[in-house]
Symmetry: C2
Subunit: 189 residues, 2 copies
């Protein structure tokens, strides 16, 4: 680790913050949502309880912060994929497949269901909608994708169709879902 | 009304039952979910409160029964459309459009959100999934629809894609959603 950076107070705070989120998520995964307490998180991280309370008021705040970090990570991943080389058709395919895999892998947990009501999720969904809409508009302009339906409506279609990924049994099934969803986006002819 | 029939006890019970559901739904629509009481339903129907309690233990039971009736009606409507003349491609289009309009018209109410967690909804969804799956299998066999993805997976795709109808602003937008969703079902070529 770069020493100069890690020696700053900011970096220390960041390290405590991140370690706390990691510990809380690991405890939920191992023992379930209801069994996680501030005491257990303190024990797991080796941070004193008094210090922990300086960072977070309760377990819920830690889990919301953890989920915000997850959602931000997923969004950055999708933005990186969007920015890869390729025509609009290839890039929309790559973004939709990546999103479908995220839905598939993070589906159905009790934690996800509770945290998904948060405002940070609505913001991320809005951002994702715009990202996909802009790619669809680009594809419509180049002729790779249909241009008879507004990109906004097509983005709504994509995001709803791909939520099916969370109930599919395999990665192969998720890939087929992406293929079928993309077929809906092709130019008419 | 046919007299002989209406004179039977069964028919009387059915009439009281239906009038109760209608009154409860009308009161919710007019005054909101929380303002509805057994007393108001009794007043609205002209049924005595004591009689009303012989039929239903509480407001929730009435609303669940009302919603079951709604869901059953929607399912019967979709079955009737499936049984109309036409090839599989035309029939799946008609069924999906009808389902999308149902989602569009009944979306987003507080009541719907609460009642949709009920088991009768899960049963109806299962029934609908089978109905659509069977039509898709028929279409795959006749060559109207794609046959490279299992009908079960295609049905999951359809039902998820069409949930977008509940957030669309107009019937025209719903029709475009159905067009795009159907495009995903066409044979590859």
């Amino acid at each position: 680790m770069p020493k100069l950076w890690n020696e700053t107070i900011d970096a220390h705070r960041r390290a405590v913050h991140d370690a706390t989120l990691d510990a809380a998520a690991a405890l939920v995964a191992k023992h379930g949502l209801l069994s996680v307490t501030m005491a257990k998180i303190a024990e797991e991280t080796g941070i004193g309880r008094a210090t922990l309370y300086k960072y977070f008021p309760d377990v819920k705040a830690i889990l919301v912060a953890w989920h915000e970090r997850q959602v931000t990570g997923h969004l950055e991943h999708l933005i990186a994929i969007r920015d890869m080389a390729g025509d609009a058709g290839e890039r929309i395919e790559a973004v939709l497949e990546a999103y479908a895999f995220i839905s598939h892998e993070h589906h159905g947990t009790e934690l996800a269901a509770r945290l998904h009501r948060g405002e940070h999720v609505a913001r991320a969904q809005h951002h994702l909608h715009q990202l996909i809409r802009d790619l669809l508009a680009e594809g419509a302009a180049t002729g790779d994708l249909r241009n008879d339906v507004a990109p906004d409506e097509l983005a709504t279609y994509c995001l709803h169709a791909l939520t099916a990924a969370s109930s599919l049994p395999s990665k192969a099934a998720v890939r087929r879902l992406v293929t079928v969803t993309l077929a809906g986006l092709r130019p008419r002819g």
